[in-house]
Symmetry: D2
Subunit: 140 residues, 4 copies
C-alpha cells in the first residue's frame, strides 16, 4: 500500500545555518508520514503505546539527494510491507512539490515491542500483521 | 490584519514523554504562523535575511491553557500590529480544531536588525512599516 | 535556591537560517535547566509522570537580549520559588560563557496536574511543596 | 582519528510519547559529535558555510539497538575517514554512559559543496582533504 502525505510547508525553524532543511528534520517528516500511513490502516501510534505496544525503528537508510529550502513544499510517499516475521519496512520518498524532484529516499525498518505478562518482547500487533499479509497477498 | 494558518496536524515527535505537545514546540507553531502571515504581506523571512535584514523576536509572553495531543489538529490565528517606531507585535492564538478551544495565547514582540554601511542597527524594512501603518490607519 | 547548569555547547542544528539559535530552542534550554534543578531537589520529571503527576508550564515570559551563535557556550541560572498555593515560579537567565553577558531572561510559571480517584486536578507534589516552603522560610 | 564527545545528558524534551529518545534526535546527537570532531581537526562548520563551502550529508545508515531514556547520559564516538575522492565517512557509535552498551551505530557519508566562479560543485575543503589523507597514511 502506498500512502501520500502533503503538500506540507517547510517551516523556517527546520532550516539550519546553511539555509536548508537540517538532515535530522527529514527523519521527522518521514516519521510523521509513517504514522499517518499507519493511522490510515487503523493503527494509532499513541493509542498503541497506551495499550502496551511500542512500534520502534530498528534501522534507517537515508539517501539525501537535494535539499529543501525555506518556501518549499513537499510530499512524502510511503509504501509499507512486511520485511520478516516480526519486522516491517517502509520505503519512503520525499518529493519537492514544485517539480516532483526527489529530495530524500529512505528505507525504514521497524518492529513492535509488546508488553506481556513475562516482560517485553518483539512482536507485531495482530491488526498490523493482518494488514501487511493482506497487501502481500494482493501484490502476488 | 488577522491571518489564519491551519488546520495543521500535531506530529507525534512533537509530543514529549507526558504525551502532550512540548511547551517549546508551540513557539515553533507560532513562528511558522508569523512567517506565513509575513509572506502574505509580501515579506519573506529568508529573503529578508539574504538581503541583510533579520527579523528577530525580542519578547514572548505565552499562556498555556490546555495541551494539544497526538491526533489533534489546530489553527493559529495571528494579528500583527505596530508596537512602536521600531517594534511590531503579533497577538497569536492556537485553537484546537475539533472544538475551537484555546490552547495557547501569545504576545510576540519583534524588531528588525538592518545591515548598514555603519554596522547593524535596529530598524524595520520599509515594506513592513508601510503595511503596518496601513493597518493602523484602516483600524481608526 | 539557585541552580546552575553548564557550560553547554550551542549545537549547530539549533541555529536557524539566520545563523543564530532559534527562539524556540531557548525554551528547550530553559526546560532542561528546570528539570536538572528539580532533580537536584529530588524531583524527577519523568518519574513524576509515571507516578501520575505531570508538572506543566502555564505561562512563559521570555526576553531575548542577544543571540547565541554556533561555537558559543552558555550557562543557565535557575531560581525556583513558590508563586501561589498551586503554582511555582522559575526565574531563569541564560548567560554566554565567554563574557557572562545575558542572552535571555525568563519567568516560567508552572503547576502540577495530579491524577486522583476523581480525575485530574491541579496540585503540587508534597515533596516539591516542602522544598519550596523550606526555601521561602530560609529566605525570610 | 577517533573523537569522543560526552558524557552528555538526555534532555527530557528529546523524549517522545513512548518515553524514549525519538529516532530523529540521535541524528542531532550524531551531527553535533561530527561537528565537534571537525572542529578538533580545525574545521568549523559555520565558518566553512560563511566562506562558501557547505559540508552536507549524502547518506545515513543508522542501526537503533537500544533506547536512551530520561536521566540517561551518553557518549558519542566518531571515527572519520576518506571514502572517495570527494566523499568522507563517519563511523559513529552512541554509548550509554552507565554501562557502555551500544544504543546506536551509524555510518554517515558526506561531501562538500564548494562555491566557485562557475557555480556550486562537489568538493572537499583542502584542509579536510589533507587531514583525511594524513589519517589514511598513518593507518597504513
Amino acid at each position: 500500500m502506498t500512502y501520500h502525505v502533503g503538500p506540507l510547508d517547510v517551516r523556517d525553524y527546520e532550516c539550519d545555518l546553511q539555509g536548508v532543511v537540517n538532515n535530522a528534520v527529514y527523519l521527522n517528516y518521514l516519521e510523521h508520514a509513517r504514522h499517518q500511513c499507519l493511522l490510515d490502516l487503523g493503527l494509532d501510534f499513541a493509542a498503541l503505546h497506551d495499550s502496551g505496544c511500542d512500534l520502534v525503528v530498528t534501522r534507517a537508510e537515508v539517501d539525501y539527494r537535494q535539499s529543501l529550502k525555506s518556501g518549499d513544499q513537499f510530499f512524502v510517499r510511503t509504501h509499507v510491507r512486511r520485511a520478516s516475521k516480526i519486522r516491517f519496512a517502509f520505503d519512503q520518498i520525499i518529493l519537492r512539490a514544485a517539480d516532483e524532484q526527489v529530495m530524500v529516499e529512505a528505507l525504514i525498518i521497524g518492529t513492535g515491542i509488546v508488553q506481556t505478562d513475562n516482560g517485553r518482547r518483539p512482536g507485531l500487533p495482530q491488526l498490523l500483521q493482518d494488514k501487511l499479509d493482506q497487501f502481500n497477498t494482493a501484490a502476488e
